[in-house]
């Protein structure tokens, strides 16, 4: 329990790192993850620190690596992820690595640039061929169907001679042709019309195959257009508009021969380009494949290096500039490892003077470290979500391991549901090394991280389910019920008994709808059921009344025990922090207040259970009335539970009433007394202190003397108190607020534990409803169709059970259990104002590519 009960003892250590070996030492420390560095240069802005240059270099390397990874991913080359993480690179290799990477980057950029250029060229050529192909049809149509050039009527109507006719107009007629993005066609045409006032003819057709956009790399649809226009001026404008809309303009061949020639030339060039492009791509792939082999280890190495330099930036230089001084928090248990790591680091770099460390005393609060394993981690997380524990205070996670699943199970008590949950958790636990589970996302991950919590929750639910005797809302008759129905019949009894009690005969059984078993009739009640609730209650109509009474009392008892335990844990805290007066002035009155009221309530409940039997049950007084009477002192005498009850109750009330002022005023007044007089510890020294009270130095001297003498531990607490500014009003206010909160809290928190009852009731009722609405209906149908009907009914039942009862109800019970721990339990003792110990460890660096690409 040791390490989980309190956080580990920390000490502040100063590391003296020889400047030559600092890097290696930190590398060794990072691999082990032992210490948390303190920032000694807090007021130095980030770019004025010592190792900014190195950090910059690391960033440059990261940039190159990100570029490499991006290119490798684009080429669809698998990135091998190494199993082991390589250590941070030795300084000598860094330069080499940098050169190598830079060379690779330059080469890669060159090749990709070439490739892009070639691709662009190719694309242009392809576009050109498409354009030529499509425009050929335009011109034919133009002339055939549009007698625009009336004043120059064509000599022949032969379409083959179109060009000669065009040429005759050529003095004025010009063509611009090219490709345009599909989305821009409309705006383009409109603008042409507006600017050129209709002196142009635009024809366009959609290209059937989509082509890549050379600028964005997107594959989109294109239109081929041909603009014929008259005149120089308009020609300029048309060209400008084409530029504006980013059209790809290509020269338009004037004759058929020219067109043919161009087409052929294009074809051969495209062929050539294809081969060149293939070769380039092959080469690029080779380069990338080679890079992909080492890129993973490089990424990790650079990350480690950057982390080391960030840590070095937190160190300060000593006067001689020869060594770096780092201040670290280290768990005392690991000091030996720390020394060894420093030695290793020094040895590795072959330094003549070893780096060393020494611990320094400090007044500052160290960070909190609680070592967890995969089992306790989940529970610790529940506690940490409320607040990381203050240094060395009692850690509620230990108790949470048991109480959390238990309180959950009280609300979730169902044998069947608990077993399903247990199986699910067991499945997760058994497959916990499966890689798919480890990398799962969001919700599944949540379940996976809480798998041990789920496991225990399931187990405890099985237990409480057995106690409630609930399995999918049905009871299981394992040991045979303790009630005997046949004993109620009059025939089985002697005449004397027949007279005393109401017994059944045939007419009674036939006529009445409801029959009542009377436990006072001999033979009817044969003793309690061995485990949990008797299954016969499942048949009873007053089952709910019976269970309500039981569950309500149970939740009050559990709640008060839980809270009292919290207050007792507070005593451990006071003992540890050497504030004994807190025990007498805070914890004890708190305990008295709680136990005298609610402890007595528990006593009454248990007493009534034990003392009254079936015969005397009619005269048993109501606990509620008794409890209320405890405060009201009624004039009329009631029976009471036992003799002398009144006196006991008066005494308890008096104790309660007395503990309240102590709680309110005790601690502030005591502190005030200490502050003013300090006359509490031995007469001889009191005079001594009083005389020299003004000298702060003397006081501290006195303090150190005390420690040497091993004197009263209380003294320690007082001295610390007086070191701070003493403000009576503030202390009084805090204490009063705390006390009010506690006293009211006792009542409201006890009431709050009734949620245990409410939720378990809701759970039982809901599963009962599900059973009667679905399975009972399915079972009622007669046998021929029933078989067919039963299958979907059972399926629906299973689905609803899982989603409503297991997931939804489970979640709500989980939340309420968390609340009971955070609010009702932990506010009795837990401060939770610490900071978490975050060691400098390479393991915390992510080793994924996805992170650095994003």
């Amino acid at each position: 329990m040791g390490s989980l009960f309190r956080s580990e003892t920390m000490c502040l250590a100063q590391l003296f790192l020889q400047s030559g070996t600092a890097y290696e030492c930190l590398s060794a420390l990072g691999e082990k993850g032992l210490v948390q560095f303190r920032d000694l240069n807090q007021n130095v802005s980030s770019f004025q620190r010592k190792f900014v240059g190195e950090v910059k270099r690391c960033e440059e390397l990261e940039r190159i690596l990100a570029y490499l990874v991006q290119e490798i991913n684009r080429a669809d080359i698998p990135l091998p992820e190494g199993e082991t993480s390589p250590p941070a690179p030795p300084l000598k290799q860094v330069l080499e690595m940098q050169e190598q990477l830079q060379k690779l980057e330059v080469e890669l950029r060159e090749v990709t640039k070439n490739k892009e250029k070639l691709r662009k060229n190719l694309l242009e050529l392809i576009e050109y061929t498409h354009m030529l192909r499509v425009t050929k049809t335009f011109v034919k149509r133009n002339v055939e169907f549009e007698p625009t050039y009336e004043e120059f009527p064509p000599l022949e109507n032969d379409s083959l001679l179109d060009y000669s006719c065009m040429q005759r107009l050529g003095a004025k007629l010009g063509f611009v042709s090219g490709l345009i993005n599909q989305g821009k066609v409309e705006a383009f045409e409109k603008m042409l019309w507006r600017v050129c006032k209709g002196y142009t003819i635009v024809t366009y057709a959609e290209l059937d195959e989509p082509l890549e956009d050379p600028e964005t790399g997107e594959v989109i649809k294109w239109y081929v257009f041909l603009i014929s226009f008259w005149g120089e001026q308009i020609g300029h404008k048309v060209k400008k508009i084409c530029d504006c809309y980013h059209c790809h303009v290509y020269p338009y061949p004037n004759t058929a021969e020219e067109r043919k020639e161009i087409q052929e030339g294009l074809n051969t060039r495209i062929q050539d380009l294809y081969t060149v492009l293939h070769k380039t791509e092959d080469y690029l792939r080779q380069v990338l494949c080679k890079a992909a082999e080492s890129v993973y280890s490089h990424v990790i190495q650079v990350k480690k290096m950057k982390a080391i330099y960030h840590m070095l930036n937190m160190c300060s230089f000593d006067v001689t500039n020869k060594c770096l001084i780092a201040e670290v928090w280290c768990p005392e248990a690991n000091l030996h490892d720390l020394r060894r790591a420093l030695e290793d680091g020094s040895r590795e770099s072959g330094a003549t003077i070893p780096s060393f460390m020494n611990t320094i005393p400090t007044k500052e609060t160290p960070p909190t470290l609680i070592r967890t394993n995969k089992f306790t981690e989940g529970f610790q997380n529940i506690v940490d979500a409320y607040g990381v524990g203050s240094y060395r205070e009692v850690n509620p996670a230990v108790f949470t391991i048991v109480t959390f699943p238990f309180l959950f199970a009280v609300m979730f008590g169902d044998f069947g549901h608990g077993f399903v949950m247990f199986l699910f958790a067991l499945l997760l636990v058994l497959n916990e090394n499966h890689p798919r589970l480890k990398q799962s996302q969001e919700i599944m991950r949540m379940f996976f991280n809480g798998r041990y919590i789920l496991l225990l929750m399931g187990l405890f639910s099985v237990y409480t389910g057995l106690i409630y005797n609930d399995c999918f809302s049905k009871s299981v008759n394992l040991f045979g019920s303790g009630w005997n129905v046949s004993a109620m019949y009059s025939s089985s009894h002697g005449p004397a008994e027949r007279r005393r009690t109401v017994l059944w005969n045939d007419s009674v059984v036939r006529r009445s709808r409801v029959l009542q078993l009377d436990p006072s009739v001999p033979g009817v009640f044969q003793g309690p059921y061995p485990l949990g609730i008797d299954p016969i209650w499942n048949l009873a109509t007053n089952r709910l009344t019976f269970l309500n009474s039981f569950k309500m009392k149970m939740s009050v008892i559990l709640g008060i025990i839980h809270m009292t335990f919290g207050v007792i844990l507070g005593i451990f805290n006071h003992l540890h922090f050497r504030k004994k007066f807190n025990i007498y002035l805070v914890s004890v009155p708190e305990l008295l207040f709680m136990l005298c009221i609610f402890g007595y309530l528990i006593f009454m409940i248990v007493y009534k259970w034990l003392v009254y039997s079936a015969e005397t049950s009619r005269v048993a007084p109501s606990i509620l009335i008794e409890f209320i009477n405890m405060f009201l002192f009624p004039a009329s005498e009631t029976n009471g539970l036992y003799a002398g009850q009144e006196h006991v109750q008066r005494l308890l009330l008096a104790v309660t009433a007395l503990s309240v002022p102590v709680l309110f005023l005790g601690k502030p007044l005591f502190l005030l007394w200490l502050h003013n007089g300090r006359s509490c510890f031995g007469v001889s020294r009191s005079g001594y202190t009083l005389i020299r009270k003004d000298s702060e130095e003397e006081v501290s001297l006195l303090g150190s003397q005390d420690i040497e003498e091993g004197n009263n531990q209380m003294e320690d607490g007082c001295r610390e108190m007086t070191c701070e500014e003493f403000n009576f009003g503030e202390i009084l206010m805090t204490q009063v607020i705390h006390s009010i909160e506690y006293c009211l809290g006792c009542i409201s928190n006890t009431a709050s534990y009734l949620r245990l009852w409410a939720l378990s009731l809701a759970h039982a009722q809901l599963s009962d409803v599900l059973w009667t609405m679905l399975v009972r209906v399915g079972l009622r149908v007669d046998t021929t169709y029933g078989v067919l009907l039963l299958l979907p009914v059972i399926a629906l039942f299973a689905v609803l059970t899982i989603f409503i009862l297991l997931i939804m109800e489970g979640l709500s019970a989980f939340l309420h259990a968390i609340r009971l721990h955070w609010v009702e339990f932990q506010n009795k003792f837990y401060v939770g104002a610490g900071t978490k110990f975050v060691p400098f460890s390479f393991r915390l660096l992510s080793s994924k590519f996805s992170d650095d690409v994003a």
């Binding site: 980030s46 770019f47 940039r63 821009k184 705006a187 603008m191 508009i241 504006c244």
Partner: protein, 351 residues
């Protein structure tokens, strides 16, 4: 829209308002500026900006770093944010966004026309255009030779079209005419924007109207200041003043008659808002320029816009503040790169 924006504002625009408020939290603080000013090189600036919300936006820039690269990347970032807002906006917020881009569009059009006049290549000038004011037809601007040409051929389908009604003329576009065109466009733009906000009512009007009034008056002052000693006649000058400001109408008439800075100052003294501003202007070399004072006042108004909820002004204010921040960073970066440290502190802090 009806009164009481708080009831249904969030239905349509709540997400974006939340977002813009989050973005506002990323503006550089005084402490950041103090750190930036201490930088020795542009690399240091880059490192410091990395610790702010700019993140490693310069990470993919190859060395050496220049001020224009920083400027470009910052603009791109702002543009990305703005585009996101705009793409997720519903009416009438999207109209509001369109109005916001119009001022940048006007600037871009004028820039392109000036470039065409000086026979510079379109590509060169395009790089200088503000990305928020980009539109497809923009590049064809240099086809036009007269303002009406420009309107008919190029801009008729852009959001700028309605602002052209006052400036349809057949004058050839020389430098003076372009400047006149810009100011006329701006005048009708501001008036239209003002009207839009006024009609929208609600908190939007309460926030945006003072900001736009100030913008209009600032333009009036700046136009007056710039027209001293030019061939612009006083009547012409008066036609350029936006009429939606606090100065309208008497102040504008007086301004039109002003002949030097002192007369202008006297006009401003009639107005409680502008009096302290003109008093803050230092004369000669030492003090602040009128422009700086105006910027400071604008920043103040924009920061205050965030104190109200359920209005569109936050988007306007955020964009303007971000622009001011970019101007500050560019100023500091310029001072650093030119080793001209004496004036490095005359940036305008925002938060």
């Amino acid at each position: 829209m009806l009164e009481g924006a708080e009831f249904y504002f969030n239905v349509d625009h709540g997400y974006l308002e939340g977002l813009v408020r989050g973005c506002k939290a990323s503006l550089l603080t005084q402490q950041d500026y103090i750190n930036l000013v201490q930088c020795e090189t542009l690399e240091d600036v880059k490192i410091h900006l990395q610790t702010t919300d700019y993140g490693n936006f310069l990470a993919n820039e190859t060395n050496p770093l220049t001020v224009s690269k920083i400027d470009m990347e910052m603009r791109k970032k702002l543009c990305r944010e703005f585009e996101y807002f705009r793409n997720h906006s519903l009416e009438p917020l999207s109209t509001f966004f369109t109005y916001m881009t119009c001022s940048y569009m006007i600037d871009n059009v004028i820039l392109l026309m000036n470039g065409a006049l000086q026979k510079k290549s379109v590509k060169e000038i395009l790089a200088k255009c503000h990305p928020l004011g980009r539109f497809t037809e923009m590049e064809a601007v240099n086809i036009a030779e007269t303002p009406s040409d420009l309107f008919n051929a190029v801009l008729v389908e852009t959001p700028l079209a309605p602002f052209f009604q006052d400036c349809m003329s057949e004058n050839t576009l020389d430098e003076l005419n372009i400047e006149l065109l810009r100011n006329k466009l701006y005048k009708s733009y501001l008036e239209a924007f003002y009207k839009f906000c006024k009609n929208h009512g609600d908190v939007t009007a309460e926030i945006m109207c003072p900001i736009l009034e100030f913008e209009a008056d600032r333009r009036a002052f700046i136009i007056t200041l710039n027209s001293f000693g030019t061939e612009l006649s006083k009547d012409d000058r008066e036609t350029l003043y936006p009429t939606c400001g606090k100065l309208y109408p008497e102040g504008l008439r007086l301004l039109a008659q002003a002949e030097d800075f002192d007369q202008m100052r006297r006009v401003a003294e009639h107005y409680g808002v502008y009096k302290p501003l003109f008093e803050a202007v230092g004369d000669g070399s030492g003090g602040k320029t009128l422009e700086d004072v105006f910027y400071e006042h604008e920043v103040q108004m924009n920061v205050l816009a965030f104190n109200r909820q359920f209005h569109y002004g936050v988007f306007y204010a955020y964009t303007k503040l971000k622009e001011q921040e970019m101007r500050n960073i560019v100023w500091i970066a310029e001072c650093i790169s030119q080793r001209h440290r004496t004036k490095i502190n005359s940036y305008i802090p925002i938060l």
